[in-house]
Structures are given as C-alpha cells and as structure tokens.
C-alpha cells in the first residue's frame, strides 16, 4: 500500500499530537540536523500503518503493537506499507519508494465487540 507523505499531513499531525519539533516542519531546521528536508514523525508512520490496515479490517481491534524505527522518512516522499497476516498477528514493514527500510513491526488483532 503506497502513501505520499505530504507537508500538509505532517503539519496536521504536528497540531494534533502537539509535537511541533521544527525538524518535522522546517527545511532549515532539518538541514541543521543533517537532513536534506523535514522528516516525518515516527509516530505518524506507526499511526498511519495501523490506520491503513484497519481501514480494510474495520471490525478488528489492535491489542498490542510494536515498531522499530530504522531510518527517517522524508516529507514529500512515498512510503510503502506491507502487511502480512498470520492468524491474529500482522507483520508490518515500511519502506521508501526505492526500497529503503523505514520501520518494521507487528501487531496483534482481535475482533471488536460492536
């Protein structure tokens, strides 16, 4: 599943999460920190990953979730989310459009009582 990580979605996440660190929002601050452009919040990526999965499985609930952040994802680039479900466990990998590993993790799902 591909997602383009735009300046707008990162700005919206910064407001909602109150994580307004300039490294996520400002090109100059990102450059000072050694990056060519702002980087996405790791927790935006983790949150978005669960959202993409649950959008296709709305009757499930995530009971446990872990993720290791491997590399920063630059704002304005594409992220690819791969899910592999085995029983109630979903393995997850996030890569850039060119295949670089951004994050990896897994979560456990359970049917939601509605």
């Amino acid at each position: 599943m591909k997602k383009h990580i735009t300046v707008e979605v990162i700005a919206q996440y910064a407001i909602a999460s109150k994580d307004t660190s300039t490294i996520h929002l400002d090109v100059n601050a990102a450059r000072k920190a050694g990056f060519n452009r702002p980087i996405a919040h790791g927790m935006y990526i983790m949150g978005l990953a669960q959202s993409l999965y649950l959008s296709e499985h709305p009757a499930q609930w995530i009971t446990a979730y872990k993720m290791k952040f491997q590399k920063p994802l630059f704002v304005g680039t594409e992220a690819i989310f791969n899910f592999e479900r085995v029983k109630n466990r979903v393995e997850l990998a996030v890569t850039t459009g060119t295949g670089d590993k951004i994050a990896a993790g897994s979560f456990l799902v359970k049917e939601l009582q509605r």
């Binding site: 407001i15 909602a16 999460s17 978005l48 959202s51 709305p58 995530i62 446990a64 872990k66 939601l112």
Partner: protein, 132 residues
Amino acid sequence: MNKVQQQLYVTSEWISQYAQSIEAPLQKMNGILIAPSTMPIIFWQEFDIPWLKEVRALIHGTQRFSYMAPITAGMLLDCELSLTNVEEKVGKQGMLTFLTHTLVCKCNGDLIVTAETILIQVGDPYEKAYNS
C-alpha cells in the same frame, strides 16, 4: 524522581482529532468511540517531564503498546510516565544513550494500556537531567 503522573480525560473530540491526523477509521465498541492504539503517545504532551527538559537531539528508537482493554471516549485515565532504564552504547555516530520510558494508564484502578518508548540521544548525555 524520574516519574510523573497525570490524570487525563479522554473525550470523543480528542479521539476524533487524533484519528483524523493519522487517517484512522473511527471505531466503536458497544456504541462508544475507541481510541486508535497509538494514541497514548500524544498523552506525553500532557506531562511536564523534568528529565527531558535539557535533552536535545532525541531519536525515536522503538515503540510498544499493550492493551488490556481499549481506551474509550469518556474515560478518566490515571497515567504514570517513568524513565525505567538508561543505557549507553557506542555507535557509528558516537555515544548513544537509550532512554527507556514506560507509560501506564489505568481507569478506576484497572490497567488499560502499557506503552514502552525508547528514545535515543545522540552525543554526550546530560546525566544531571536523568539523575535529578
């Protein structure tokens, strides 16, 4: 003391705003809105965390959430955030300090969620900040 507490009232508006920011579908259990599993990370912003005040250049290393029950709209959560481990390692970028934090949230004494966050500080650690 590397431990802080905060009582948080989780409104449906707060859940909706967070869910929208990560494009999460709004889910309900028994007709009540439930929070996306990653939402406790934004609880951090409601704490005054003395040991991180002087710390710069933090990288998010790993994150875990483990639920006993979903967080639902209308819950009053008693949350405690603590620094549970500090470990130094030498990496390619020089000294790395791994700061393990545990956030525990309960509702009426019942455990709802435990979240573990490992932040990595690159460079010399501000030991004073951790030990105060």
